[in-house]
Symmetry: C2
Subunit: 319 residues, 2 copies
């Protein structure tokens, strides 16, 4: 079960191994958004995304025997990078399975961290079966990208930090893909402040969580075409979904143009680089998609690993 | 005279009106640079550059009569933005004189802060005479971009903060244009730690300070073609130059390509946006132009106001 205690244990376990990222503010952003926003800068996290938290928590929790076997991760990029980094630091072998269209920057990161990379076709292969086969054949421990309580607890530590650093938040928002980040952050937030509102944000072409909540059960969508490469998971996790159902006051969606506009704003006004997936929650605030009751909101900027071609699109005018 | 006391007074005066910017580190940068680097992130400063420090210190030091008259600044962009911001907050009228090729982002900032903008031709007009004429005609108080002890003291506060935050620095480096930032930071640094080395960094096509130190007197160069729009001043200041002469252990130069390479590294690896002028000192470290004795260095990233076209150039591969 995912509890505040499990998140606090994760925070202790990963302390000193991942960054305590800053909570940044921008008067310019607040003016456009019409509310006070506190950005949790996981784009400045080690390996460039919040994923370092969960992966580090999970790998440090393995038994000695499991560490000897080595680990496997299936991921669009950031989770694989995080597992590669955490495994290297723990002296554990890592195999990562990534889609053939994973961002070059993320693949370069995995290489730097010494991972053994295997590539699947995002449109043809079943990513889970692809990873499971390799894990069985090579006797590796699977480190799930989100559907695991130790992973969720690790991701939740960024929510814990945000609530410790910023008082009186009335709401928190995170991007949502498999649901690990939202589950962790919302669990921490609601345990600390019962009345806080929690919003999950998806690209409108990748709204599997929104559809699943509307239907009351997990819905699977086609491979989404969104620019947000980290938010292309096709269905919520079996373990994350009940938590998202319980904690999400709403699931909001944003367009790719809104994401690019938010990236552009953050580049030129806040001087920080945020990847498309990482900018989704900020995009929802900037486009004023939050309820009017939201006055003081914590927004997770979940990652900063972006390829030059995508960053170039964010530079274009008139967004 | 510029003293540590004057810088400490400036720090008190501007506290709460400008940001205490973070000192950022990057393992990836250290690996390439071969030494430990602590970045003072003035790109995250209010109005996007260290200039907010000096302008705020100067304008808060004006007499009531001077405040009533209003102020004038001549600047390639960042100083004008800073004066516009500090003047607005002090309820003072501001006129800013800028070159016709000033970055659009910087001009937009001045407009936002409500400044009255006058444009001169960088290749034809004498910028000083242009500003002096307007100041006389409209009875405005000139707020110099660098050649003023209150301005230098304000800029020096970022050096003061850096030395307070990071122990045992063996050297500090700043970009150098008119010399106000270098004078302030080096004065603070040498007063706090006598043995510290101070390096000023210029674009190689705008090396007026390097030439002036070699000759022992102020040399004036032609309008420099460098991409670093904030470092195009043609000659060191009359008041800054003797301080630079006394404090500079060396003046280093960088090419535009080295600057763009450093910007690119910081975008993709550190997830921060630095403008060309702001990246000059970091570029010198990344290109290993510092003496081998430099092991633990404070580097000022002096600004982050950059136009999309320039940022697009930094995205290009193979630098």
């Amino acid at each position: 079960m995912l509890t505040l205690d499990l998140i606090k244990q994760a925070a202790e376990r990963i302390a000193g191994r991942v960054h305590r990222t800053p909570a940044m503010t921008s008067r310019a952003f607040n003016e456009v958004a019409g509310c006070e926003v506190f950005f949790k800068c996981e784009n400045l996290q080690r390996a460039g995304a919040f994923k370092a938290r969960g992966a580090t928590n999970k790998i440090l929790s393995l038994t000695d025997d499991e560490k000897k076997r080595g680990v496997l991760a299936v991921s669009s990029g950031n989770h694989a990078q995080a597992v590669a980094l955490a495994a290297r630091e723990a002296g554990v072998r890592a195999v990562v399975c990534i889609p053939n269209d994973a961002p070059k920057m993320k693949v370069a990161g995995m290489r730097t961290y010494g991972a053994d990379i295997r590539v699947f076709d995002r449109h043809k292969d079943d990513r889970d079966a692809f990873g499971r086969d390799i894990a069985e054949r090579e006797n590796l421990v699977h480190v799930p990208a989100y559907d695991d309580y130790l992973i969720m607890a690790g991701q939740g530590t960024c929510g814990l930090e945000l609530l410790e650093e910023v008082s009186d938040l009335d709401s928190v928002m995170t991007p949502c893909s498999g649901g690990g980040l939202f589950a962790g952050v919302s669990t921490a937030a609601k345990a600390i402040k019962h009345s806080i509102k929690c919003f999950a944000v998806e690209p409108e072409t990748a709204n599997d969580t929104q559809q699943s909540i509307a239907k009351g059960e997990r819905v699977k969508v086609s491979p989404p075409p969104t620019i947000a490469d980290g938010l292309r998971v096709q269905t919520p996790g079996a373990r994350t979904f009940p938590i998202t159902q319980a904690n999400a006051d709403a699931v909001l969606t944003v367009t790719d143009d809104e994401i690019l506009g938010a990236m552009r704003f953050m580049l030129f006004r806040m001087k920080i680089v945020v990847e498309p997936s990482g900018a989704a929650a900020a995009a929802a605030v900037l486009a004023r998609k939050t309820p009017n009751s939201v006055r003081r909101v914590g927004v997770v900027l979940s990652g900063g690993n972006v390829d030059p071609e995508i960053l170039a699109r964010a530079l274009e005018e008139n967004r």
